[in-house]
Amino acid sequence: MSTVDQRSSERLVLEAGRADRQYWLDLWRYRELFFILAWRDVSVRYRQTLIGIAWAFIRPFLTMVVFTVLFGQLAKLPSTGGSPYAVMVFAGLLPWTLFSSILGDASASVVSNSNLVSKVYFPRMIVPLGTVVVALIDFAVSLVILAGVMVWYGVWPGWQILLLPVFVALAVITAVGPALWAAAIIVKYRDFRFVVPFVLQFGLYASPVGFSSSIIPEQWRLLYSINPLVGIIDGFRWSIIGGASPIYLPGFILSLLVVAGMMWWGISMFRRTERGFADLI
């Protein structure tokens, strides 16, 4: 009851266009709902499936095999710093999958939870943010496979692996910005529901997932880094494979700037439109 008593003395004013000053505090207060929605998505994900959680292993593994054969064996693209092609592909595939599943799920999440949005109040940002948890769990499973692949090839990470959490956080942030933007816009214009998968499909080949970014000619590398995933994926490879896969620093900084910009844009778009969600959905 203590929480109830604490809230009871509060005065709430509802008015048109009133910026909700307590928004971030509210977001914290509703953390239980955040966890429970995330738990719901996780626990529902593999119900009534034949092989259940094994899907989380099979999908990234097969993608890795295809990319290794396609780019490494057939196209004979070089790996970075002599590391096995499969390891390099997998180290790129991890952040990409994390990014694309957050962007894909989060952007559709507000509309697919329309029954909640139109019937109860909560800070709407909980819904897209909740999908991050699901993506992170799949990511953790993929890390296990990566470890297996590395043991198989006898590749050992250096001290750089300690910085991996930083890059994971960066990948999440990179996805959250555009995802919030897309989630807000999809509430208004459902057309964008078809745009997101298309952009993701395109992005898989525009980002250095199946190949190393070192094959990009030097004079184009900075321009290429406008794609924020270039910096993130390079960072992943650097921390997993070690010094053999160096980070291109100007590009990395540019990527970070783009990420920050997208994050700001996504949050402001979402905050601006979320009060009208229930009317539009």
Binding site: L14, L33, V120
Partner: protein, 434 residues
């Protein structure tokens, strides 16, 4: 500290609604219109406005200039017709949508029940859904855990609590959902017609539970069409009519204001266009005294008063199509098909009262289409939804609850013409009537 927990001042909510101007008869027209609408939508996208389906947009105030105050511990009903603004008001109170103008001040934690079982997931078990639903309604995990046994025993689905709710019957599902809602702990409770679930016994249990909640010193706002529940639970009522506050005061006075309001609003003039030969000018549901009304009392003769103009053309019929709240046609009458009553052949304006047999229509909203024409050949004038009306309560044989359309078992309560008797059948006797 003031005793007022909710104060609304000049509250208003505007929506933009789209209209389709007419039905297209030509392919070319339809294509032109599509193209025009496509460009309009594109322009709206660039201006960042929501997409309006239709040919023209219109402002619509769902709520306007609504002022009221509610004190701590008060039990207030909000009544009004469909579309009077009740749901909009509840949505503003529960912060789901924000007002377009005016303000509202709330002191204390609000929980709203706009439906029961919000967020229930079919793949999850009953137990998991209790926690999920509790969190969605604003309970903490600790709160749910503490009251879990109470919730489950209230719902009466103990045996199936670890079964996915997709295997539940509708009744079990609703009972579990209501049970969670009934155990909410908050100072202000906003409830929208959630009593309409389950069987009579469970409804009585719900009503009891609600009055318990009410007597616990909490503030309750209650929306319902069930007059009996409104009377027994609350002392004060707010009547909304077309988005405006029409009455605020003691419950009995409010209910008579609400009933009186329906009779006057039914007489407003309308413009339904014209037919080629016979034009429907006015159509109303009327009560036994012939006074227009918007409420049909189930079990009384169903009477419609209709005024039409004719140019004297012969062979036309007047047809009535009754539709339920899903706009499904459920009943039909024609002056020609079901009786040889040709329309008058002298030009002029005529009125008539179509008196139909008493029906036990399920509680809910209905509408009547009025048409003229040559049955099965050509329509002359057609007014869709000419007479909207509602049935408040349907309780044949004075059963203690209301049979409702949204139970999904039909729109008509059947009644017996002879007492139902169950006679034992002996094993050696032949079965059947023979």
């Amino acid at each position: 500290m003031s005793d007022t927990v909710i104060r609304a001042e000049k509250l208003g909510k505007k929506f933009i609604i789209g209209h389709y101007d007419q039905r297209d008869t030509m392919f070319r027209e339809a294509m032109m219109r599509r193209a025009r609408n496509f460009f309009r939508k594109g322009a709206e996208l660039f201006r960042g406005q929501p997409i309006i389906e239709g040919d023209s947009a219109e402002e619509f105030w769902a709520l306007r200039d609504v002022d009221f105050e509610i004190k701590r511990g008060e039990l207030v009903s909000i009544i009004g017709h469909n579309g009077a603004g009740k749901s909009t008001l509840l949505k503003i109170l529960s912060r789901i949508t924000e007002p377009t103008e005016g303000r509202i001040e709330i002191t204390g934690r609000v929980t709203s029940l706009l439906e029961i079982g919000t967020g229930f997931h079919h793949e999850l078990t009953g137990r998991e859904n209790v926690f999920l639903n509790g969190a969605i309604l604003g309970m903490t995990r600790a709160e749910v855990r503490r009251r879990f046994d109470e919730i489950v025993s209230f719902s009466g689905v103990e045996k199936f609590i670890d079964t996915p709710v997709k295997r539940y019957s509708m009744g079990m599902y609703c009972r579990l959902a209501f049970a969670v809602a009934a155990h909410l702990e908050s100072e202000i409770l906003v409830i929208d017609e959630v009593l309409a679930v389950g069987d009579a016994e469970f409804q009585a249990k719900c009503l009891n539970r609600m009055s318990e909640v009410a007597s616990g010193g909490r503030t309750v706002l209650f929306v319902s069409h069930n007059f009996a529940a409104v009377r027994s639970l609350t002392r004060r009522a707010i009547v909304l009519r077309r988005g405006r506050l029409s009455f605020d005061g003691p419950v009995d006075a409010a209910l008579s204001n609400y009933t009186a309001a329906t009779t006057t609003s039914a007489q407003t003039r309308r413009d339904w266009g014209r037919g080629r030969n016979v034009t429907v000018v006015a159509a109303d549901l009327v009560d036994q005294q012939g006074v227009p009304t918007e409420r049909y009392e189930a079990g009384k003769p169903l009477r419609f008063h209709i005024v039409f103009d004719t140019n004297g053309m012969s062979g036309l019929a007047l047809e009535l199509v009754l539709r339920d709240e899903h706009n499904v046609a459920v009943a039909y009458y024609s002056t020609l098909v079901f009786g040889q009553a040709p329309l008058p052949t002298t030009p002029g304006r005529y009125e008539c009262t179509v008196s139909l047999d008493a029906l036990y229509l399920a509680a809910g909203s209905y509408s009547l289409d009025v048409k003229t024409g040559f049955p099965g050949i050509e329509e002359d004038h057609r007014v869709d939804g000419a007479v909207p009306f509602i049935v408040e309560i349907c309780s044949p044989n004075n059963i203690p609850y209301s049979f409702r359309q949204d139970e999904g078992v039909g729109t008509l309560a059947l009644s017996l013409t002879a007492p139902l008797e169950f006679a034992p059948v002996r094993a050696d006797a032949p079965t059947g009537h023979g």
